[in-house]
């Protein structure tokens, strides 16, 4: 948990400094991390004690050389994971990046190098991370399968991990990435029915557990789903 926090701080500081080409402001950092400025200050003091950042009052924070090294290491992990997700697992880039944001803090060098070997792409694994900043949202909403939703829950479909033919069938019934759904009926460990594009679709558990959504409603979809029989 603690290393997670540190790594997240380092990444965010690097992201902000490279974006603004100036030391990161305490306030911006708090905002980006979604935390109270007071707790941010406290953490920054710890980081500075460990020699990962330099903290100049009124100017802001910058990473030390050690801090940059550590942050780069994380970023490398992120990029390799993302590449693996996109190229090998065929995941959507955005989804892949988000998942990498979580996993980057937990994956060991051993697994990382195994992935590199598997992808037979040592070039990419060795090269220093590019400069484009990686953005990891702080309050990560996790993707959940439809089978984990309850009656009345809403969400936006992000990914379907089913064979091509089954996926094609779902698409023809309205199931595409980005579509808004609402759970209408649910049986314990059984079938589930959702409202999608104004129709009601029944899904078996084995199907529903392979469709991932990001829970909640996105504003631009509210309007259209209103007309469907609720």
């Amino acid at each position: 948990m603690y290393t997670d926090r540190i790594e997240e701080y380092l990444e965010t500081i690097q992201y902000l400094t490279s974006k603004n080409q100036a030391p990161a402001k305490n306030k911006d950092l708090a905002e980006e991390l979604g935390l109270a400025p007071a707790s941010v200050t406290e953490m920054l003091q710890k980081l500075s004690e460990e020699g990962l950042i330099t903290y100049t009052p009124y100017r802001g924070v910058e990473l030390t050389e050690m801090g940059v090294l550590q942050s780069n290491k994380i970023q490398r992990k992120h990029r390799i994971l993302e590449k693996f997700f996109v190229e090998v697992l065929n995941m959507d880039r955005e989804v892949a990046s988000k998942e990498a944001c979580i996993l980057e803090h937990h994956i060991s060098e051993l697994i990382l190098e195994s992935i590199c070997t598997f992808m037979n792409d040592s070039g990419m694994c060795k090269q220093p991370p590019s400069n484009s900043p990686i953005e990891c949202p702080t309050s990560m909403e996790e993707y959940i399968p439809i089978s984990d939703m309850d009656e009345g829950d809403e969400g936006t479909v992000v990914m379907v991990t089913l064979p091509h033919t089954v996926k094609g069938r779902l698409v023809s019934l309205g199931m595409t990435a980005g579509v808004q759904i609402t759970v209408k009926r649910k049986q314990k460990q059984g079938s589930i029915s959702i409202l999608i594009r104004g129709t009601e679709l029944a899904l078996g558990n084995e199907i529903a557990s392979k469709i991932f959504v990001s829970p909640g409603v996105s504003a631009d979809h509210r309007q259209r789903s209103r007309g469907s029989h609720s």
């Binding site: 996109v86 065929n90 959507d92 880039r93 033919t165 089954v166 094609g168 069938r169 779902l170 698409v171 023809s172 019934l173 309205g174 595409t176 990435a177 980005g178 579509v179 009926r185 049986q187 314990k188 460990q189 059984g190 079938s191 029915s193 999608i196 594009r197 104004g198 129709t199 009601e200 679709l201 029944a202 899904l203 078996g204 558990n205 084995e206 199907i207 259209r224 209103r226 007309g227 029989h229 609720s230």
Partner: protein, 646 residues
């Protein structure tokens, strides 16, 4: 197979659209040809042709199974796809469900990419109004660039206008909508268009998606291969750029377009009917749902039994007093063969009217209510988990329930299932389900002369047999496993006239096919009896038959006729016994065993034919042999256990 233009007709018009939008309702209204209309997706599973005449022209009108897209397909959808692409109708009437416009437009946009004139029938306008959906029909027509007519197929409104527009449609209008695909896609289709002029945009798009089936259906083999090859090169590049599967890009753009159209033409007003929602939720709630299902089934059989039994009694009495007895008096003393022919045919007709029509008719009325209320999709939803135990999933519940009516359409309805494995399991189980003909025997024989609960116990026994068979097949048969993906039908109050029409449609089949068979069979029996063949047969199988099942030898003859049609076993039994009051000639145990054996043993001829058509000879033989062995075994066990106990 009919090729592009059949010289017999001046024009062909096909009804195309999503399942359950009202194509068959429309077709029946327009052509007068009776096809089944039901409130669940996948009612129609084969082509039906009808003819209309207009201005001296003869027009071929075709009802197709519903499809959700021009892409992936189950067996029934392939029938539509093949007709559309291979035989290519002159005009397409695209029927849409106004309550589900956005999803329906997905197919419409794909159809508009084929170079075939299209008229859109915006159906179910009454249901849309009730739900508070208002659609700007002219706006929709302007956006799509084809005529759009609001219709209510069940009431017949707007249908003539659609047909007139379709009959007059000759050319493709140039201001037809063009889907605003992503630039890379547009570029690729343009390039393909230059390389392969004369290939419609729809085909080019399907080629980009690498739908080889589709491309082969509408192009010559050589061209198809070339097209697919060029397209796949382009597709690889596009996928590289987008970092996503090309199908995902295409469906995104299509739905994007559909969504924009819907936003542009639809407005919502507040809708009412919360009672409906409450009922709806209750029907699929965890416990109430299951209890309700069991109650509904028991109630159905109780009703069919009570009312059917009442009618049966009355009809038997009428026939006996006014027809059979007088005939016996008149015929006595004449040529024995002639006497036999007359009396036997009369008995056959009596049995047909008294036993079959009341039960089968009532049963179909009840089935029709299940179908039209939208309950079947809810039952499928409810029973999804249970059906996994027999190697199936919830969607199979619909064909299985249809099996209580007649095995033949039920087995055809398995075309809506995803894989061959599912179709084999479902078809085998349907052959075991007591169809309405077998219900006649169970209720008309055991129910009436032994007792209602004895009859129910046969259903329970059947259910056990089905579950065990399903369980074994589910574990034994290898193949891909899929899951339930099914559109739920709206809840509707069944319409009385529609119910009666549909029941008549099904009973008519019975009268046209079964009665001639019954009369001919009875007459033949009369001759065989008179010349002594029957005696020879019965003395030959009698001992074996009586020893195992404890049934009189003439029951064996009845069973042989039962292969033609199941209920004929009972009718012929009545003929042979010389009466429809079975209590006089059989003990309760004999009746029970007879009913059990006839319900299980070998599917009837029509079922064997359809099994052979759908699954092939090997499966059909296996099912037939299995059921005969099973029936004899169970019958013997029941007979001997009962004899031991008593």
């Amino acid at each position: 197979m009919r090729q592009r233009s059949d010289p017999k007709y001046d024009k062909s018009i096909a009804f195309v659209g999503n399942p359950s939008v009202g194509k068959s309702a429309f077709f029946t209204r327009v052509t007068g040809v009776g096809v089944v209309v039901s409130n669940y997706p996948g009612t129609t599973v084969e082509l039906t042709h009808g003819t209309i005449k207009a201005d001296g022209k003869k027009i071929d009108v075709v009802d197709l199974p519903g499809i959700y897209s021009l892409g992936a397909a189950t067996e029934d959808e392939k029938v539509s796809k093949r007709y559309l692409l291979h035989e290519s109708p002159d005009v397409i009437v695209n029927v849409l469900d106004a309550t589900r416009l956005e999803r329906n437009l997905y197919l419409t946009l794909q159809i508009l990419e084929l170079d075939i004139p299209v008229v859109v029938a915006l159906n179910q306008m009454d249901a849309a109004k009730e739900m508070g959906i208002e659609i700007d029909v002219e706006g929709l027509s302007r956006m799509l660039g084809v005529p759009v007519v609001p219709t209510i197929a069940t009431k017949g409104s707007g249908l003539d206008e659609v047909m007139n527009l379709a009959i007059d449609a000759h050319t493709l209008s140039s201001d037809r909508i063009k889907v605003r695909y992503d630039n890379h896609i547009l570029h690729a289709t343009e390039q393909l268009g230059q390389e392969f002029p004369g290939v419609s945009n729809g085909v080019r798009i399907r080629a980009l998606e690498h739908d080889a089936d589709f491309v082969h259906m509408c192009c010559r083999p050589h061209d198809a291969d070339m097209l697919l090859q060029s397209a796949s090169l382009l597709a690889i590049d596009i996928e590289q750029v987008h970092g996503m599967h090309i199908s995902d890009t295409l469906s995104r753009d299509l739905y994007g377009e559909a969504g924009q159209i819907v936003d542009g033409v639809t407005s919502y007003v507040e809708s009412r009917s919360t009672l409906k929602h409450k009922i709806d939720n209750l029907l699929t709630s965890e416990y109430v749902g299951i209890v309700g299902l069991v109650c509904a089934l028991l109630l159905t059989f109780m009703l069919v039994f009570k009312v059917g039994g009442f009618l049966e009694g009355g009809i038997v009495m009428l026939f006996e007093t006014y027809l059979v007895q007088p005939a016996r008096v008149i015929m006595s003393g004449s040529n024995p063969i002639l006497e036999n022919i007359v009396i036997y045919s009369l008995l056959g007709v009596e049995a047909g009217f008294a036993i079959a029509i009341p039960y089968i008719g009532l049963f179909y009325i009840m089935l029709s209510i299940f179908e039209d209320s939208g309950y079947l999709t809810r039952a499928a939803f409810l029973l999804d988990r249970m059906t996994h135990k027999v190697g199936l999933h919830g969607r199979a519940v619909i064909p299985l329930v249809l099996g209580f009516g007649c095995s033949v359409p039920a087995i055809m309805a398995t075309r809506t299932l995803n894989t061959r494995r599912e179709r084999r399991i479902a078809s085998a189980l349907i052959s075991l389900i007591p169809c309405s003909a077998r219900t006649v025997i169970i209720l008309g024989l055991v129910g009436t002369f032994v007792g209602y609960w004895a009859a129910v116990s046969i259903y329970v026994l059947e259910l056990l047999v089905i579950l065990v068979t399903g369980w074994i097949l589910g574990r034994g048969l290898s193949g891909e496993r899929t899951g339930l993906i099914m559109e739920m039908s709206p809840l509707r109050r069944p319409d009385v006239t529609a119910t009666m029409k549909k029941t008549w449609l099904r009973i008519r089949e019975f009268i046209y096919v079964a009665f001639p068979l019954l009369i001919a069979g009875s007459a033949l029996l009369g001759i065989l009896d008179a010349v002594g063949v029957l005696d020879v047969f019965q003395t030959a199988v009698g001992p074996f038959f009586t020893g195992l099942l404890g049934l009189p030898a003439f029951a064996a003859t009845a069973l042989v006729f039962g292969i033609l049609r199941k209920e004929m076993a009972l009718e012929i039994l009545a003929v042979l016994a010389g009466t429809a009051s079975f209590a006089m000639v059989l003990t309760p145990l004999q009746m029970y065993v007879f009913a059990v054996v006839t319900t299980i043993y070998i599917p009837c001829v029509a079922t064997i034919a359809i099994l052979n058509h759908e699954l092939g000879t090997r499966d059909t033989v296996a099912i037939s042999v299995f059921t005969v062995v099973l029936a004899l075994t169970i019958g013997t066990v029941i007979n001997h256990t009962a004899l031991l106990i008593m």
